[in-house]
Symmetry: C2
């Protein structure tokens, strides 16, 4: 099977005028095919503030009323996505910016929660792996914004980590997929205040232990859950590392944290 990297970058890279070009340079140097999934970062919060729309977060998820949905559709699907695509095209990389609505690539269900009204937040129902594959085979490198649709005309706001995990899993039937979560630290840390405490390898057993001890908490929990979900669905390996580490993909990776089932 052909090799494919599914790479997720977060807002901290996108918002950084020095780190984003460096990341795109590294990405452009990769020899294998890839799919990039980007978050939105501070820009959506900034635009909401300028428009007088209050930003409400519950468990790290943005509560998305209609006005906020318009903001994230503009910022994620327009500003951020096209900044990345134009930047990659300037490096000679044939990037193609997409949301889950485009080509019906990622369909989601509006989240129903017994007590919390998340608004226009979507939980992924299915990824159209064949169409993403067809774009890859035509030489396009997809850049996915963290937006899906419900098939009834509504865009939905969907967590970028989840999209990366779902896309990687769906394509694992067709490609040898490695999933990489890029973030601002060197890897998963045993002690969050010590950048040298990177855990190089996490198994299911160790993850259970680290959750119990509280070493893994907060925002890292859904990321780890997404990683294990992808591994269980056929993704070869999941790496959590600093965005700079993307340069090492495909060359025998040696930085950050690798997640394996056991």
């Amino acid at each position: 099977m052909k090799s494919l990297f599914v790479i997720k970058i977060g807002g901290n890279v996108i918002d950084n005028d020095r780190e984003l070009p460096q990341f795109l340079d590294n990405l452009a140097a990769l020899q294998s095919a890839w799919i990039l999934v980007h978050g939105g970062g501070k820009l959506a919060t900034d635009l909401s503030a300028r428009l007088g729309i209050e930003t409400q977060m519950i468990d790290g998820r943005r509560v998305t009323d209609k006005a906020t949905l318009d903001v994230v559709t503009m910022v994620y699907g327009g500003l951020v996505n096209k900044r990345i695509v134009a930047g990659l095209q300037a490096l000679g990389i044939n990037a193609l910016g997409l949301t889950g609505a485009d080509g019906d690539l990622i369909r989601a269900r509006k989240r129903e929660h017994p007590t919390t009204e998340y608004g226009f937040v979507g939980d992924v129902e299915r990824v159209h792996a064949e169409r993403l594959g067809s774009l890859l085979e035509s030489g396009f490198l997809p850049v996915l914004a963290p937006l899906t649709h419900d098939g009834q005309g509504n865009m939905l706001n969907t967590n970028a980590d989840t999209i990366a995990s779902e896309v990687a899993s769906a394509l694992a039937r067709h490609y040898d997929v490695q999933l990489m979560y890029c973030f601002e630290k060197q890897g998963v840390l045993r002690d969050v205040s010590d950048e040298t405490s990177v855990i190089s390898r996490i198994t299911s057993a160790l993850y259970a232990e680290l959750r119990t001890s509280g070493a893994i908490a907060k925002g890292m929990i859904p990321k780890m859950d997404n990683a294990f979900a992808a591994l269980k669905r056929g993704v070869s390996s999941v790496i959590i590392a600093h965005a700079d580490s993307v340069r090492l993909l495909g060359e025998g990776f040696s930085e950050g944290t690798i997640i394996v089932l056991d």
Copy 2:
């Protein structure tokens, strides 16, 4: 050669909550392949106003400073494009939303003008017809926002009428292309205050005459110039008509104004 419609809709349809769904229904009913090019309409001006960014127009072109470029990238590339794409997907149409940066589909040069600083406004240099063709052959129906890029990492604001003409012309080597400009009137009118005065057929000679008499003026001039440019480059016919007339495409068209060379 296969038949292809390149259809441009303007802001008046996009901004209208009744007309847009009607237009998308008509589009979804077409049997031939098509490429849709949309304008932006009032939404960009509205967002600029809410953000305290002044909108300046010169000869119907929006002067695009950096802040305005971000606004049009968000509104055209994000909000409007995804509203149309999600609406079409809800009708079972495999729409794919794109800007000129995506897949390097439309590259432009930043406009240099001896006396006017238009800012980030792009004049089309080339359309990647093969890649648009490859998307069509893969079953995607492209929905193009009026945005291009300069190949150096910058998005550029480009007139939607011009994009429609350039795309139609570039694809005329591969398809039998009909170009349709949809707008709010029934066709080109001999008397703008009389909706029944539609001119059914305009040749180069009649156009010269109508310009001299002043019957065709203002915003209609660049539209007509784009129409004739497309005809000279191999497009089979150009139609200027009300958005409702899109339902008649491919059935022996009988509404609006048809433009022919002679």
